[in-house]
């Protein structure tokens, strides 16, 4: 069958099971858009290509499949850079398809020509220029395999306009992937494995560090079995949240810079850390020289390059989290850790039992209350996409995720502007689920143009703006480390309710605590998008906090007076 390159692309995407493409047209990708119009693929017109990549990323994170973003050459492609880097740092499988000027013009600085494969080389798992129609199907099939195998990541396929226009024979069976013949490493090292088993079976104060690798591997059940069998408590990374139920008594909560004090203290006092699918990022370790000095370390990780990168480990098991845990399971003895668990419970002290819900209404509206109420009203059942900053940390502390793929957040790159487009992508991935974007007033103003995408797609996404009139996390650092010199952090925002209305979206404003629950409940009753502007306390800070580069146990604790907030018992 003879098809144009553009038709081959659409046919290939359809056969790969793609149903949504987030994109923005332009000259160098026009032939593809013409073919898209004749296909059954659902194209979502975004308002900025950064939004397209975040949507594809949100789609991938919420679904476990591959998200697809599309843009034209030049500025269309360069606008994707932040979204691609976000997906790279969080190992998210995203395939970006960009148009490119005709192959005859390559290198001539033609209109809207840019070397996007050169630009994205360090922020993609792989990228490639396709300049022949007959190579499109094979290359796109390879891109999907690369994006979602091993440690997932973004792949960019740059297709020249003449390749889109030319005709070629299309035969699905003859255009199979031709990936390079790589050596298959035998990563199994019996000595390391035996040492890991021995450490696991002899530890007195062990802690499991659970990361996103468990979600990416789809290993939630095996992991739970591992926790039950070993009887070892679990601390979560930000991106690991959801891989093990937050309300499970064995789940201590999030570790690291804004982890609860008892979690970080338990890690510092542990005699064994079992890291599963996490990479000892500086935001979870704090100062490396003083990090978990009493603990031996076992690292289960799919990416060999992560072994001994930040923390030197005593036993490394390289491979898919689910498979490696399953290999370990038969060798693990169930041991009595009651003394250790009781000690951790003691560390929690009364900071856990003071439920913020039962605190008297002091007339202040705190972000922690808003997010905890959102959790209660939605019964923990929503998919929440967050932006980056204070509200992101409060979300991680006060919205207790029991299910995998329900928290969509930019951890590694920390990309402001992520929440709204990522929530849109998540809603397309899971139309059956309630989806909330929880976003600060700063980050929201970065990508708020995507409100128009919500309206055009008639999407039911709820938006909670945690509005404190500051770039809150930066303000907090200025408060703690720069003597309260608030340089460039106070920010003016438009009237978000009027703004929402201008887009044709219902807007609500919440000024005090008693309005929180009814407003959320009323928004949930609508089958359309609703934006709620929560005017929260302006100079509130996220506690506890480990200052950057400080030892993990040297946290700035919650102040007692005034009692701003406290952790809630899930």
């Amino acid at each position: 069958m003879k098809l144009t390159g553009a038709e081959i692309l659409c046919e290939t995407l359809t056969r790969l099971g793609v149903d949504h493409i987030f994109g923005y047209p332009g000259g160098a990708i026009l032939p593809v858009y013409d073919a898209l119009g004749k296909s059954k693929l659902h194209h979502i017109l975004v308002r900025h290509e950064q939004g397209a990549t975040h949507m594809a990323d949100g789609y991938a994170r919420a679904s476990g499949g591959v998200g697809v973003a599309m843009a034209t050459s030049g500025p269309g492609a360069t606008n994707m850079v932040t979204g691609i880097a976000t997906a790279m740092l969080d190992s998210s499988p995203v395939v970006c398809i960009t148009g490119q000027v005709s192959s005859k013009l390559l290198g001539s600085d033609a209109f809207q020509e840019i070397d996007i494969t050169g630009i994205t080389m360090p922020i993609t798992k792989y990228n490639v220029v396709v300049s022949k129609a007959e190579d499109i199907a094979r290359t796109v099939r390879e891109a999907f395999i690369i994006a979602n195998s091993g440690r997932p990541g973004p792949v960019l396929v740059d297709i020249t306009k003449d390749a889109q226009q030319a005709s070629a024979e299309f035969d699905w069976d003859a255009c199979g992937p031709q990936l390079p013949p790589k050596r298959v490493r035998n990563n199994h090292d019996q000595e390391e494995f035996d040492r890991a088993v021995e450490l696991l079976n002899s530890a007195k104060r062990p802690v499991i560090l659970a990361g996103r690798g468990i979600l990416l591997s789809g290993a939630m059940q095996t992991f739970e079995q591992f926790v039950r069998t070993s009887n070892i408590p679990v601390a979560m990374t930000l991106l690991g949240i959801g891989c093990f139920p937050a309300t499970d008594p064995m789940n201590l909560g999030m570790m690291g810079m804004h982890g609860e004090a008892w979690v970080n203290t338990a890690i510092q006092e542990a005699d064994l850390l079992i890291a599963v699918g996490m990479r000892f990022d500086d935001r979870v370790t704090g100062d490396l020289r003083t990090y978990a000095r009493n603990a031996r370390k076992v690292h289960i990780e799919v990416d060999r390059a992560e072994i001994n990168k930040n923390v030197t480990v005593d036993a490394a098991i390289v491979g898919d989290a689910g498979e490696m845990l399953a290999n370990l399971l038969p060798h693990i003895h169930t041991r009595d850790h009651s003394a250790w668990l009781a000690h951790i419970k003691e560390l929690r002290g009364d900071s856990a039992v003071r439920d913020i819900q039962s605190l008297p209404d002091s007339g202040h509206l705190y972000a922690a209350h808003v997010i905890n109420d959102l959790w209660k009203v939605t019964k923990g059942g929503a998919i929440v996409a967050t932006d980056v900053g204070q509200h992101q940390m409060w979300e991680a502390q006060y919205y207790h995720h029991n299910e995998p793929r329900t928290l969509v957040t930019s951890g590694g790159l920390g990309t402001m502007g992520f929440a709204l487009p990522a929530a849109i992508g998540a809603k397309f991935a899971r139309p059956d689920r309630e989806v909330w974007a929880v976003v600060g007033d700063g980050g929201f103003q970065m990508t708020m143009s995507e409100l128009a995408t919500i309206v055009q797609e008639k999407l039911n996404v709820k938006i909670a703006i945690i509005n404190n009139g500051y770039l809150g996390m930066v303000r907090q650092w200025q408060e703690f480390f720069y003597d309260k010199r608030y340089v460039a952090t106070p920010l003016i925002a438009p009237d978000f309710v009027a703004l929402a209305n201008a887009f044709g979206i219902r807007g609500e404003r919440v000024m005090c605590r008693k309005e929180v629950v009814p407003t959320i409940a009323s928004a949930r009753n609508s089958d359309q998008a609703v934006l709620i502007d929560f005017r929260v306390e302006q100079e509130d800070s996220v506690y506890p906090m480990v200052p950057a580069g400080a030892p993990l146990h040297e946290m700035i604790r919650r102040p007692n007076n005034p009692l701003v907030e406290t952790a809630s018992e899930p």
Binding site: G65, S149, G150, R151, L179, P180, P181, K182, R183
Partner: protein, 178 residues
């Protein structure tokens, strides 16, 4: 100094990816050589880098994550041969030419060009050996020098073969399930 051998796809852009990776990891390359193998689709690289064992592990593992790198292996510390080739143009006149030739012979170099006021020496061997010859030639006046950078190979049965080309098209691993 760490020595890593890699087999890569013999196609445009691969060297750029390798170089870009070392830049990103902030590892300084002392020498990087690329040449064809007996299979025209595959090229062999020898990378000598100023880094420690930990850095070499990271470089080796990160190299192997590149789609176009078929295999990367740190062979530092293994029994191996390392060779560098140099062409050195050294000032020589009637008077000192015989003396120069003597010295070159000691280093098993070959004189490959003789001109009235200079000669070109070809010498191959370990970096130390070439540096040694260079040291004794310097007083005569080294006018120009070109060096290839190191190539390396492990000895005997310690074989480092490229993966079977027949496995082309087989994905590196099964796609992660959701």
């Amino acid at each position: 100094m760490q020595t890593i051998v890699a087999y890569v796809e013999n196609k445009p852009g691969v060297l750029n990816r390798v170089a870009s990776l070392t830049r990103r990891l902030a590892i300084n390359i002392d020498s990087l050589t690329v040449g064809p193998t007996e299979n025209e689709e595959i090229a062999r690289m020898t990378i000598c880098a100023h880094t420690d064992e930990k850095g070499a592990h990271r470089l080796e593992a990160s190299l192997e994550k590149l789609v176009d790198v078929l295999l990367a292996e740190n062979i530092s510390g293994r029994s191996m041969l390392e060779r560098d080739l140099a062409l050195i143009k050294v000032a020589a006149d009637q008077q000192n030419r015989p003396h120069l030739m003597e010295l070159i012979k000691v280093f098993r170099g070959r004189v490959v060009d003789v001109a009235p006021e200079s000669l070109i020496v070809e010498v191959s061997g370990t970096v130390d050996k070439i540096d040694g010859l260079l040291e004794v030639l310097r007083p005569f006046g080294v006018l120009e020098m070109a060096r290839t950078g190191r190539i390396a190979m492990t000895r005997g049965n310690d074989l480092l073969r490229p993966p079977d080309a027949a496995s082309r098209g087989k994905p590196e691993a099964a796609p992660a399930s959701s």
